[in-house]
Homo-oligomer: 239 residues x 2
């Protein structure tokens, strides 16, 4: 290695500082998911509004993470594995920012539908789904900080459950819409929320793959079965 | 400046090579939008399938762009404006990759709905919308390569038209669904396609903002009116 111990440890210190920012960002995103979901299930439009506003802080933190990571690249000139470790930071920060965006979108839609006729059971199903994603996010952040590839693989496997919950909801919403046209507008919004949560799961899965890559040097195989069939099948209604 | 002319020009040569890759990637994404749209309007499931497969090449090119950009950072140690220019590359490549993903998703859904009862006029409206986004993409790539902030501003302004087309389609689909429940499944898919195109427009707008930032050193104001009201209003149907 060209790097002296002195330079390597300066790099490690910088890296730790950025990782701390990633963890903070992750915590804010977890909270955004929790608040968006609570606002939805409780019909709490004030909480929805504050969740929407809090997303600006997440975006600002992503900017800061990117700037710091760029500064470290310029200053420490990492190569090989070290460079990949820094580049992973850009990806994880970008994924977290997008999860935050989806939480914001759920909050926005909550503000719209709160006084539409409620769809029986729908918000509770959404809550269960969003809770699953929130735990996946918490675990993948632990996996990242502890460089725990097994935990990351476990998180990745759990995305299939989220996809299944989404499939079930997709069918449920179609049924409600067909039964009573007055449900259509609310169901369209609820369905978008379900899709948002499903995409959050995909993004968390992407983070888990970055963690696996960081630890093992290889991306995991594409053997994870993609269980969102609604864009490749007809949601079990027509077929 | 610390950089000697020699080093600066080596950096410029590297940058040009990566920009050529971005342009190639952009061309592939333009083609993906065109093919996905043609597959939809012509009911051409073979073209849909090949569009879906072609997305892998776009993803691979993004990887290559990222690796090259990282290599340039490590090798040339750009600072200040030069560093920002390279970081912009990561963002533009990521945005293009996501536009490609949306085109792939449209192709996937085309394969599902091709034999469902057609919704009058819907595919033509989608074609008009996707054509608008495709031209925006072509123009923003020109703006990028020519560092033309005015053209980038123009592209950004045009996104409002795409948002308006989406709003009109959203209302149209709701109406079709309410009129006849047999339209619901097809409309759900067509609506997702419309939303995908609307998001492509947002991503192209994001690229235009990166170009403006590159040229002027400042991000444009948030005065661009967000004209997708469907997540903040009820699509004109309930309200």
């Amino acid at each position: 290695m060209i790097n002296s111990t002195h330079i390597a440890s300066a790099f490690d210190r910088d890296l730790e500082a950025i990782q701390a920012m990633i963890m903070k960002m992750g915590g804010m995103v977890e909270e955004a998911i929790e608040n968006a979901t609570e606002a939805l299930t409780e019909g709490d439009t004030e909480l929805a509004a504050s969740t929407r506003l809090a997303d600006k802080e997440i975006d600002a933190l992503e900017e800061k993470v990117n700037e710091e990571a760029a500064r470290v690249i310029a200053l420490r000139q990492p190569i090989a594995t070290d460079l990949r470790t820094v580049l992973t930071i850009f990806r994880i920060a970008a994924a977290l920012e997008r999860v935050g965006d989806y939480a914001k979108n759920i909050a926005k839609r909550t503000e719209i539908i709160y006084d539409l006729s409620p769809i029986e059971g729908a918000t509770l199903s959404l809550k269960r789904m969003s809770r699953a994603v929130q735990i996946m996010l918490k675990d993948v952040l632990d996996a990242y900080i502890q460089r725990d590839a097994d935990l990351a693989l476990d998180v990745r496997a759990r995305d299939a459950e989220v996809d299944q919950m989404y499939n079930a909801l997709f069918r449920e919403f179609l049924t409600h819409m067909m039964e009573d046209p007055r449900n259509i507008t609310a169901c369209m919004h609820l369905h978008f929320m379900a899709k948002n949560i499903e995409r959050m799961g995909d993004l968390v899965t992407g983070i888990s793959e970055q963690v696996i890559y960081l630890v093992t040097g290889e991306m995991p195989d594409e053997d994870r079965k993609k269980a969102d069939y609604t864009s490749t099948a007809r949601g079990g209604v027509v077929s």
